[in-house]
């Protein structure tokens, strides 16, 4: 005969009973109701059930049969509350159950130990679990005793602690030195749970740690590494994924391992196959794939040959994809298309772009970010940019909207894509201007967030590259002279560099464009001059010098302004800015300085003779003469050109 559950209130009342029998029954009832039921868990947490269960756990005596039973049931209920629900973890920790669970790990009754270990494993799956301190010797002894144990629940807990708490290379090294690798390797031959937990903890210890990787690779004469490779063929998809992740950590930490093309190809094929898995494994496979091919041209090529782009495209065509899967696939495609033109061509030919455009307006911020990152990679192709594939309303309008997204990472990712797309090599940027793109970019140059500021200035700099005078005017008006000047002096060197690149592009082109630098009493040029005296990054000096060089290729007034900036009247020439730049160890800086002199001494310009006299008096001519035999060919050729021009006026 069917019977209904007693009400929650009644159960809670029974929980506080002094009668062990009634209490135990209530705990069992809760266990049955909350297992796998998030709503019930939340409801009981709200009703305050967790402290009562924790109290039952704390006060039970593990030496009696009845007490043991109560502990086993209470621990199971607490573990269940903590499983997959952060509020549950918080409630269990707040109720003070954690130290008691740890205490019961050393109980005589194996059932108690098992229940406590299982419960603690649930807690350690959450980020809210307390950080384990590997630096304390007694803690390490405790951890090693867990890993050494014959009890699968205890070894699993040990692995869980490592996965949860090992974050720094120091912690990884402590674990290595204490012999945890050896202990974890023995878990590779155990049950599925043990294998998976061992693989995941091994990956945690080996991640970005070449020292740990070397140690692991040498263990048992390489047998440990071979065991992990073997597990990539396991019948369980989760084990295959974890084995791949472990190998990816090894490969990414140290370039001398897993160089064999066979294993690289194998990893690619396994991960692509795992994409078909409908569980969480399929979701995680694309993230693992990204990590495998990230920044590695050879692996991207192999993945291309394995038809990875087709495979991801096929998955994308499934409209009902979970957001996490969509995010993973777009990130994987972003990595794949980050370096190789063949990948980008394939991406374009399969028309993945249409699916990407839809993802730009997805509800989930992570998906929008991933789609922008993917677009950034695909638009790294000059061939595709020049063909005008991206500068159209279908792409530009949603992208510009993302500039005002509530999530900063979406904004930064959108700026990354925009900064590439605006390099379309056409002087007319009306598509972008008409949808309000300039206004949004200019707004973001004023952001308090330096990454937004940097990327916004970067986008404007790329946009002004080869733009026509009208487009430059529109941007300049929106940006304002004072803003340009303050961006040149921004607190972030990378912003300064992009701002100088922007000015360089403003004053390039027709002769009239040089006037941009002289607007509002030349505050932009003053800012450039100030930055050239105190730059903190070589690229800033180089970029600043090219601003001066471009201005010096203007008319007489422009050239004289540069002379004035380089040689203020009272100054001693030998310590001049130009003199220092010409002597720099960086050939790029010497080249940029030499171009300034070339432009100042163009023989056809009326004031060239006077400038040559000044340059000679300041000792610059003799410096240029020496540079004719510079070790850098570019410097040598510019010095030769400048010296030839100077000599055309004789030795005056």
């Amino acid at each position: 005969m069917p019977s209904s559950h007693p009400s929650s209130d009644l159960i809670l009342h029974r929980l506080s009973s002094s009668d062990y029998e009634i209490k135990l029954k209530a705990i069992r009832e809760i266990k049955n109701q909350i297992i796998g039921n998030r709503t019930k868990k939340l409801s009981y947490i709200k009703l305050g059930a967790v402290p009562s269960v924790a109290d039952a756990l704390a006060t039970a005596n593990s030496d009696s049969d009845f007490g043991s039973n109560l502990i086993v049931q209470s621990a199971a209920v607490l573990g269940s509350f903590a499983c997959g629900v952060d509020q549950g973890v918080r409630a269990v920790l707040d109720a003070g159950a954690f130290p008691h669970l740890i205490r019961f790990l050393s109980a005589a009754d194996e059932k108690v130990v098992d229940a406590a270990a299982r419960s603690l494993r649930m807690i350690y799956q959450s980020k809210l679990a307390p950080k384990f301190d590997f630096y304390k010797e007694q803690n390490m002894d405790f951890l090693l005793s867990l890993l050494r144990s014959e009890n699968e629940n205890l070894t699993g807990l040990g692995a869980g602690v490592i996965i949860h708490s090992c974050e720094t290379s120091d912690e990884q090294n402590i674990l290595c030195q204490a012999g945890s690798l050896e202990k974890l390797i023995s878990g590779l031959d155990g049950s599925i749970n043990q294998r998976d937990a061992s693989l995941e903890s091994l990956a945690t210890i080996l991640k970005n740690n070449p020292e740990a990787v070397s140690k692991f690779a040498e263990l048992q004469n390489g047998r440990a590494l071979r065991s992990v490779i073997e597990l990539t063929k396991d019948r369980y998809s989760r084990t295959r994924l974890l084995a791949c992740l472990c190998l990816i950590c090894i490969k990414n930490s140290s370039s001398c391992h897993l160089q064999d093309i066979g294993i690289k190809t194998k990893l690619i094929y396994i991960l692509l196959e795992l994409l078909d898995d409908s569980s969480q494994v399929g979701e995680e496979a694309s993230f693992a794939f990204s990590s495998l091919v990230s920044g590695k041209e050879d692996l991207q090529k192999l993945a291309f040959e394995a038809n990875a782009i087709d495979k991801f495209y096929n998955h994308l065509q499934n409209c009902a994809l979970h957001p996490k899967r969509l995010e993973g696939i777009f990130l994987a495609l972003a990595e794949l298309c980050s370096k190789l033109e063949c990948c980008r061509s394939k991406f374009i030919s399969l028309q993945v772009l249409n699916l990407l455009i839809s993802a730009l307006t997805h509800d989930e911020a992570n998906v929008r970010t991933a789609a922008c990152k993917c677009l950034k990679s695909v638009s790294r192709s000059i061939k595709n940019l020049s063909a005008g594939y991206f500068m159209n309303e279908r792409i530009v309008i949603p992208l510009v909207r993302l500039l005002s997204d509530l999530s900063t990472s979406v904004q930064v990712a959108a700026l990354g894509a925009i900064s590439n797309i605006v390099v379309d090599f056409t002087p007319d940027k009306s598509t972008f201007i008409q949808c309000g793109g300039i206004k949004e970019l200019v707004q973001l140059t004023k952001s308090m967030d330096s990454s937004l500021r940097l990327n916004a200035v970067w986008s404007l700099r790329n946009m002004v590259f080869l733009a026509d005078r009208m487009c430059k005017e529109a941007i300049f008006m929106e940006l304002t002279v004072s803003s340009v000047a303050s961006l040149i002096c921004d607190s972030e060197p990378s912003v300064q560099e992009q701002a100088l690149g922007l000015v360089c592009n403003f004053v390039d082109g027709c002769m009239d464009c040089v006037e941009f630098a002289f607007a509002e009493d030349g505050i932009i040029l003053d800012a450039v001059g100030r930055q050239l005296w105190k730059f903190s990054k070589m690229e800033i000096g180089i970029q600043g010098m090219y601003v001066l060089s471009n201005i010096a290729s203007g008319n007489e007034f422009h050239k004289e302004a540069i002379m004035q900036l380089l040689f203020p009247q009272a100054e001693n020439g030998s310590h001049s800015l130009l003199s220092q730049y010409l002597q720099s160890n960086d050939s790029r800086l010497r080249t940029s300085a030499a171009w300034v002199i070339v432009n100042l001494t163009v023989p056809a310009s009326p004031g060239a003779f006077d400038r040559v006299v000044k340059l000679r008096n300041f000792g610059i001519v003799s410096q240029i003469k020496r540079m004719i035999s510079d070790s850098c060919m570019d410097v040598k050729l510019r010095a030769r050109l400048a010296f030839g021009q100077i000599n055309s006026f004789g030795d005056s």
Binding site: E297, D298, E341, K376, S379, R380, I382, K383, S386, A387, G416, S419, N420, V423, F425, N455, W458, R461, N462, F465, L466, G501, C504, N505, V507, D508, G509, C510, M511, Y546, S549, N550, A552, S553, G554, N555, K559, T591, W595, V598, N599, L600, V602, A604, S605, C632, M633, D634, L637, R638, R640, L641
Partner: protein
């Protein structure tokens, strides 16, 4: 720059970068960087008549590590076209690491390569070694000339039915000293040795100006 279609069978080989990830010591030349523009002529004379088209070139991309260069070429007074015809080209820089003097594709045998390269005076000192191994052992890192092959990939502003072909490619020699460019168009189906001559332009300025972008 496109030339007139001579045969029906047009082939457009796809770009194969052939690049590897080795770093090379090939020195950059500021006159061969993005944004730089060049103008001049291409002589397209045939037995029937003398003809030269005005040509503008703009560098759009440069990746010395991979020996890659690309840009656009605009032919201004093409008799069959109503507007200037713009093509996008990709270049292989002969840096002896990513690319040698031997083309190895585009219907160019080593003899065709030598025949064209020797048309450049600056190639003279390199000839004997190039004949041996395509120039693999030549050190070009400090040579004041840069040798390249430019291959047009697609028409930017007209359709493929415009009656012009981009089947061939250019052997190019760039002078690092003044930015002048000489080139010879090679297409077994077109008039041989059509000469391209370009000079660096400065937009009417009194000196050299530079602009740049950075892809993310």
């Amino acid at each position: 720059m496109p030339v007139r279609v001579a045969l029906e069978n047009i082939t457009t080989p796809s770009h194969v970068s052939g690049a590897n990830s080795r770093r090379n010591s090939f020195q950059s030349c500021t006159l061969l960087t993005v944004g730089q523009a060049f103008s001049g002529t291409q002589n397209v004379s045939s037995l029937q008549k003398d003809e030269a088209w005005r040509v503008n070139v703009r560098i759009q991309g440069c990746d010395l590590e991979h020996g890659y260069l690309c840009g656009t070429m605009e032919a201004l007074n093409v008799p069959m076209a109503d507007t200037p015809v713009v093509t996008f080209w990709e270049g292989e820089i002969v840096d002896t690491k990513n690319y040698t003097f031997f083309t190895g594709k585009w219907e160019a045998a080593p003899e065709d390569d030598i025949r064209h390269w020797t048309k450049f005076q600056s190639f003279g000192p390199l000839l004997s070694q190039v004949e041996v191994d395509g120039g693999k052992s030549v050190d070009l890192s400090n040579y004041p000339y840069i040798f390249m092959r430019w291959k047009e990939q697609y028409f930017v502003n007209v359709g493929t039915d415009c009656g012009l072909t981009i089947a061939g490619f250019y052997y190019v020699c760039f002078s690092c000293t003044d930015g002048s460019i000489s080139g010879f168009y090679y297409d077994p189906n077109s008039s041989p040795f059509q000469k391209l001559e370009l000079k660096a332009t400065n937009d009417g300025r009194s000196g050299f100006s530079f602009s740049s972008y950075e892809l993310q």
